[in-house]
């Protein structure tokens, strides 16, 4: 199917935390996978006081309220669909943006019979979807409020899947974050610093 334009936007959210350092990033691409906006936070290393105050909730606080809030507020374009790979930001992102949000997991799911097939799973709000003829089925979790529009959202995803690998941008974000970490002193031409208040 030929498309007249690539203006259908997908948003990807990414977070990582290791050894007391938290960071996050957002990538918005068009339906060809070409980036339209990319934002990332500086690494956060929580203080001793914050660790005592927040205890086990520290990670959730930093990721959901600090990192996610700052990233979404900084975004210049609004995607039609948010895609997450990790559960920690899935529902907080939906609550904050009110844009349909999918939690995706690929691998380990046998291919379904035909492209576009949607197979509800025993767990609520979870579906297997066959996006490509040559791939495993994709496991998709949606917020409860969006389950009634599942077919509509999958149709959108299928349209995008004709022109790009839907899962690929997650890996690109991780590569980009590693690159900015290695060479933070070489800001790119359009790199802007925005202080959020």
């Amino acid at each position: 199917m030929a498309h007249s334009s690539g203006n259908l936007l997908l948003g990807y959210i990414y977070e990582e935390h290791a050894q007391d350092v938290y960071r996050g990033a957002l990538l918005v691409t068009d339906s060809r996978g070409i980036p339209k906006d990319f934002r990332y936070t500086e690494p956060i290393r929580p203080s001793r006081l914050e660790k005592v105050l927040y205890g086990n909730a520290l990670g959730a606080y930093l990721l959901e309220e600090v990192i996610l809030g700052a990233l979404v507020d900084a975004l210049s374009v609004s995607p039609a669909l948010w895609l997450c790979e990790r559960k920690s930001l899935f529902l907080p992102l939906y609550k904050k943006s009110r844009i349909p949000t999918f939690l995706l997991h690929q691998g380990g799911h046998a291919p379904l019979d035909h492209v576009g097939e949607i197979q509800p799973q025993p767990q609520e709000n979870i579906f297997l979807v066959q996006l490509y003829a040559l791939s495993d089925a994709l496991r998709i979790e949606v917020p409860e409020q969006e389950t009634s529009k599942m077919e509509q959202h999958v149709a959108l995803l299928l349209e995008v899947a004709e022109t790009m690998d839907v899962m690929e941008p997650f890996g690109r974000i991780a590569t980009a974050l590693a690159a900015v970490e290695e060479s933070p002193s070489e800001p790119s031409r359009n790199e802007k610093l925005s202080n959020l208040s």
Partner: protein, 222 residues
């Protein structure tokens, strides 16, 4: 009275020694002396953090060796298993006092204004990165085993051919790196195959438009 008491005591001892009996005395709880009980529990003071809404406070009054607070997300106030008592006196000047295992250090400090964290934009860096495509030839052979694909070594899809600036095959990972030209138009999707045609020794790259010619694979790979 005293002689009678002594006599009863002697009789009780002798009957226990020679007859195996013990004396049982009656009474009621009102005659028992009330033990003095003092609560050593500290009363925790809980203050809402700025971004929290609902708090549920759970602790035990018998042995409050740890204090657990729940809010919209779980908020646990303890420190690596040590008994901790937290009193947050004022959010403007946060002060946390905890009493771990017999000594009373005090931790003072200011909460960082996390809302002022930096968010950076780096679209140029993202433009410089290639998109990766996995080799799907394994799926091709599994899904359409009856079709002639013996000469196909790699199958990458989908690719917008008109926007491809450069490609590079990562032989170790088996993936194709694709650098896209963002300014170019076009949405027509293609498969890119690395294949060897019969009678030739060299491998060659072949573009096939998705959808149109998919019947050569047994149909519907796009």
């Amino acid at each position: 009275m005293k002689n009678s008491q002594t006599f009863h005591d002697v009789r009780a001892v002798l009957s226990r020694l020679f007859m195996g009996r013990i004396s049982v005395r009656g009474g009621n709880f009102q005659e028992l002396r009330q033990a003095g009980v003092r609560r050593n529990a500290r009363n925790p003071r809980v203050y809402s953090l700025p971004s929290r809404k609902e708090e549920e406070f759970v602790y035990t009054s018998i042995s409050p060796s740890s204090v657990e607070c729940r809010s919209s997300s779980v908020l646990l106030l303890y420190r690596e298993g040590c008994p901790v008592h937290v009193g947050l006196q004022a959010m403007e000047r946060p002060q946390v006092t905890y009493v771990p295992c017999g000594f009373s250090p005090t931790l003072r400090g200011n909460l960082l204004q996390r809302k002022k964290m930096k968010v950076l934009a780096a679209l140029d860096r993202m433009y410089a990165l290639p998109q990766k495509r996995n080799n799907l030839v394994g799926y091709l052979k599994n899904r359409f085993p009856g079709t002639p694909k013996a000469g196909i070594f790699a199958f990458f899809s989908p690719l917008i051919r008109s926007c491809v600036r450069k490609t590079a095959l990562d032989k170790n990972a088996g993936t194709l790196d694709v650098w896209m030209e963002p300014r170019k138009a076009g949405m027509r999707s293609y498969h890119l195959l690395l294949m060897k045609t019969p009678g030739e020794t060299k491998l060659r790259w072949v573009w096939i438009e998705a959808g149109k010619n998919d019947n050569i694979f047994g149909g519907g790979v796009g």
